[in-house]
Subunit: 227 residues, 2 copies
DNA sequence: ACAAAAGTGTTGTCTGTACACCCATGC
DNA sequence: GCATGGGTGTACAGACAACACTTTTGT
């Protein structure tokens, strides 16, 4: 039998970039650290991978601890492994990003963890290499959303075309043409118009839509060209 | 000070998917294991991340040990962290893929390591989750090559249009139209025609090309739409 | 009747794709 | 002179981008 005993063992952390969308801006969920090192500074939500825990399960656990949410869209971003990235000890971190509906977020848990939503347009300083992680996550989200219908995970289940467009505009930080956007999304045939209207934002009211689950799953696998 | 002592420590491996192109097929470099577990079976080249070694440096070291090459195009693929992926012990593995010019590969080192080039069209069985890694790497290579000029790393420094086309055909496992391909690659303006011709494969001879380094670096950063 | 947001078509330009013949050369 | 692979152009179709007015309804 080969023995692995001679090899180094490492602390393996998870850091979670949690994206949300408030109807206007793309936001991230951050924590004001209660403990040293770097008490008071902003960081991503994190945790360590347990002895017999899969890395993915650890990521889901970390997300659950902060948000109380499970069955959330989550994807591995990158493993960050520079020797001094954590200034306190050698820690290798695997970053995940998650997309949640910001309305699902529980105020109580938020306060317990000292967590805050921060717009990603102008990021504040974060500890360690967390800022790099967030930048990488934004870039990956853009790429992913261009080819897959995952952006919907950031919206409530019923939404207007305007909200959907605003989401894409927030992710790409660029304005889109309303008519071209409507035509494009219709041609993909991934949303269904409801009879209901949303009437808070205008007198005329705008129709609500939901996703076509089947088409959604198909396109999630196969990919598409969205933008 | 926060202490991390309570947390589990893990063996952290590197596995390397090494791509090469022989003018016809896209190939991967694999090792016939000399040691248990799974002696005699095929695996990727691997190694462990050292105490104070960055993950990236570990990947470069592993590649160097097998190929004698450094300064090679290399990219992190994914971290594989299922609890029982290595059947012998809990090992979390970070997979990297590398693109090398197959002609640079040293026969002697190859034999020393019991290494073989295998076409990726029909993969044989590999140990652990290495097959999944290779499939994921192929997919990532396709995505990357569609948007970045990295494929060139698989070719010799001087090459013909036919070779370049064959490379893209091998990566996508699909035939491409010669005229459309030529027009496309010319429009990107990334290669320069030399006065020299390559005359082994035809009587007329075909012109050799090299990359325009500056344009190459620009497009590597910015991205492009290649396919 | 007016303010405020929703909804809807057309046109020109560009990009992608399909397709076949002549050219240069060594034998 | 012929066999072999190299090199080149055109036409059609679909996708994308730019652009502004009408509709609905609450006040």
């Amino acid at each position: 039998m080969t023995s692995y005993q001679q090899y180094a063992r490492h602390l393996l952390a998870i850091d979670c970039i949690i994206f949300g969308f408030d109807g206007e801006d793309l936001k991230g969920l951050f924590i004001k650290r209660k403990l040293e090192p770097q008490k008071g500074n902003l960081s991503l939500m994190g945790g360590f991978v347990g002895e017999n825990e899969s890395v993915e399960a650890a990521a889901e656990r970390v997300l659950f601890e902060l948000t109380g949410l499970s069955n959330v869209y989550m994807e591995q971003l990158h493993c960050y492994g520079a020797p001094n990235r954590d200034t306190f000890s050698r820690v290798i971190s695997i970053a995940y990003f998650a997309l949640i509906n910001i309305a699902d977020y529980n105020e109580t848990i938020l306060k317990e963890h000292n967590a805050v939503w921060i717009t990603l347009k102008q990021l504040p300083e974060l500890i360690f290499d967390h800022r790099q992680m967030v930048e990488d996550a934004k870039e990956k989200l853009r790429q992913k959303v261009a080819n897959h219908p995952i952006g919907f995970a950031l919206l409530p289940s019923k939404f207007t075309l305007k909200q959907l467009q605003a989401l894409y505009e927030a992710i790409y930080e660029t304005p889109l043409d309303k008519r071209n956007f409507t035509r494009k999304i219709s041609s993909i045939d991934i949303i269904k118009k409801l009879a209901e209207k949303e009437k808070t934002s205008s007198k005329k009211g705008s129709f609500l839509y939901i996703f076509d689950e089947e088409k959604y799953k198909l396109l999630e696998k196969e990919g598409l060209k969205f933008i």
